[in-house]
Symmetry: C2
Subunit: 350 residues, 2 copies
DNA sequence: GTTAGCAATCGAGACGTTGGAGTGCTAACA
DNA sequence: TGTTAGCACTCCAACGTCTCGATTGCTAAC
């Protein structure tokens, strides 16, 4: 059997209606709202076909139809192709650069949650490809060394490490200069064991300390890959959707949002998947697919953001499978665009 | 009427039983479990008295009794006086110093949540009374200044600020030395406008920059007072208790745990209240009282922790009003003691 | 002061009934 | 051949009724 134009209209009407109401849709409803001038009986025949083809499901004999996963997928793909996604002008997002990155991410994710009424998450940018600007050392206590690492984009990381020797002020300064001579301008992949050895050679006896410092630098950058900070907002929005409000599902979802570990995996998986993807980077994962295989009734919409300077991260919305994909996709696209713009403007201004 | 010994036993038995089961307790249950050899009829008479005195309540005519707020308060106060609170040796808490403060706090709060089966929170230590070790300045970009503030206890804060002039490397160094000469060893309250002026005078033309830097230092320390970081764990534990699991209450509580703003207020209020309190600092707030006036069915147990070096913060557990106070109080006391010990040992070792 | 016994009360859960929404099928119609 | 009206059938959700068990307060006896 073939999915002709009329069937497509009916299918889309069913899904749209279901997304709005959350209730199974009957033939009379379609007959009234599809715009096709057909009686409910005719619609029934078509629906029967659509069911046979696997796009819709009947929860029980005397109920209307709801979309199957295949139906959802069809719907989502079809709106992803509509490039004229209505960009929500009304909710003009107030994206403005905030100096503190953390603040900015928190603000963004809150915005997204409030705007969509779903749960939102954002990952801190990945630093692996980011270049080191410089490193500063100082000694806050005996046998301790404080490392301040400044990366491109003015990302700052710090860590206190323990070392085996006591250094005087001047030695610390010299070591700082030595190390910076080698590593500033490099990114993670440029720091090879060979490089480390050649710095150590020049360290006039402080080899162990140098090694500890560089290892720690690598750690700080690397740690950010698998422990990238994740900010969330609006987890309690899921209570607005009855199909997720039962204790079991809600509890799972919310603890995922509290203990961010599983979200980290999710972000990791998403950024792996979307590495070589379409331009906008927008992706929709339906419950059970890929990164959210253990959240049967949820969907995840993700996008990649970029804050000038090559700082890239992932932003996402989790909601019920019957979420308003059009709105979410529109909002996210808008957000990404405005972020991009804000950072471009900023760059030109500088 | 007077609260004689027998009434006390009966009251405590009622409350203990209710804490365990969450169901109203009837006279027969008490007759069996109180250890007093009395028939249910006698108990009924006593219960009638206790109700008249306001310690217990009857939800409806044909149900057992549940504790009133007055009853809870009596019970909690009485176990707070029992100094022989069973210290839960079995769950020997694995408190060990972790270098990174943040990690350590996260670990602690998780421990507490898992151990008690309630929702737990911990505030980062307050820095207002903490002394400044030193300040480091550097220039990550034109007209930007990176401030690294190292406080007693090796707490590190950083911030990038914008300034109006371009400085060369040497000037930055000189300013750093100048500022440190004045402020290292001081705590927040020692930084007066007068002090700032006298530094500015010596700054040979960089007065504005100095002012911006010091303001920012004050900000960094102060920001920590009202935006002290708060870590939480086990928010979803509340789903284990039916009286909090309805959508409304759960949603309120969980969003408080997600958007930490209201928790910050709570911590603030608790540390104000407990400033001049008994030694252990353990406090129990029943739903509706003080800091949790808008959480009718919850209770909050708090304590003050100290990590050597005068870093003080608040740790707390939120659960249903019918929480196992004995266990929670025991666990928290134990935790505080072990923290104390771990840091003392560490200090001696140094 | 304590206890046994009894009627009264009330909520939780089981059960049955009803009504509405929806379907599939058939037969008639264009 | 595609569309439509009509009808019997199905099923869930909502509602009301009923019963059962837990518990109480009261009274009278110990």
């Amino acid at each position: 059997m073939e999915l002709d134009e009329r069937k497509v209209i009916i299918l889309k009407t069913i899904i749209k209606n279901y997304l709005e109401t959350g209730e199974p849709v009957g033939s009379r409803t379609i007959s009234k709202f599809s715009g096709l001038n057909l009686s409910s009986a005719t619609i029934r025949n078509e629906m029967s076909d659509l069911e046979e083809m696997g796009y819709i499901i009947q929860p029980h004999t005397s109920a209307g139809r709801i979309p199957s996963d295949k139906g959802y997928r069809f719907y989502v793909d079809s709106i992803m192709q509509d490039s004229d996604r209505r960009v929500n002008e009304a909710t003009e997002l107030m994206v403005q650069r905030v100096d503190k990155l953390e603040m900015m991410l928190k603000q963004l994710v809150k915005l997204l949650a409030v705007d969509t009424n779903y749960a939102a998450l954002i990952s801190g940018p990945s630093l692996t490809e980011n270049k080191i600007k410089y490193l500063q050392l100082s000694q806050p206590a005996e046998k301790k060394l404080l490392l301040i690492l400044v990366l491109e984009g003015n990302i700052i990381k710090n860590e206190v490490i323990s070392i085996d020797e006591d250094l005087d002020h001047e030695t610390v300064l010299n070591l700082t200069i030595l190390i910076n001579n080698y590593i500033s301008g490099l990114s993670l992949k440029d720091i090879s064991p060979k490089l480390i050895t050649s710095i150590m050679v020049q360290s006039s006896g402080h080899g162990e300390t140098i090694k500890a410092v560089i290892d720690s630098v690598v750690d700080m950058i690397e740690a950010d890959v698998d422990s990238r900070e994740i900010f969330t907002s609006g987890a309690t929005n899921i209570f607005k959707y009855p199909e997720l409000s039962d204790v079991d599902k809600a509890s799972k979802l919310i603890s995922a949002f509290e203990e961010k570990d599983s979200l980290k995996e999710l972000v990791q998986e998403v950024s792996d998947l979307s590495r070589d993807e379409n331009s906008s980077g927008l992706q929709v994962y339906l419950g059970g697919e890929g990164p959210i295989k253990n959240m049967q009734d949820c969907s995840l919409v993700t996008a990649n953001y970029e804050l000038g300077d090559g700082l890239r991260g992932v932003i996402g919305v989790i909601g019920p499978k019957r979420m308003d994909y059009e709105k979410v996709l529109g909002t996210m696209e808008n957000l990404i665009k405005q972020l991009d713009k804000a950072y471009k403007d900023d760059k030109e201004k500088r």
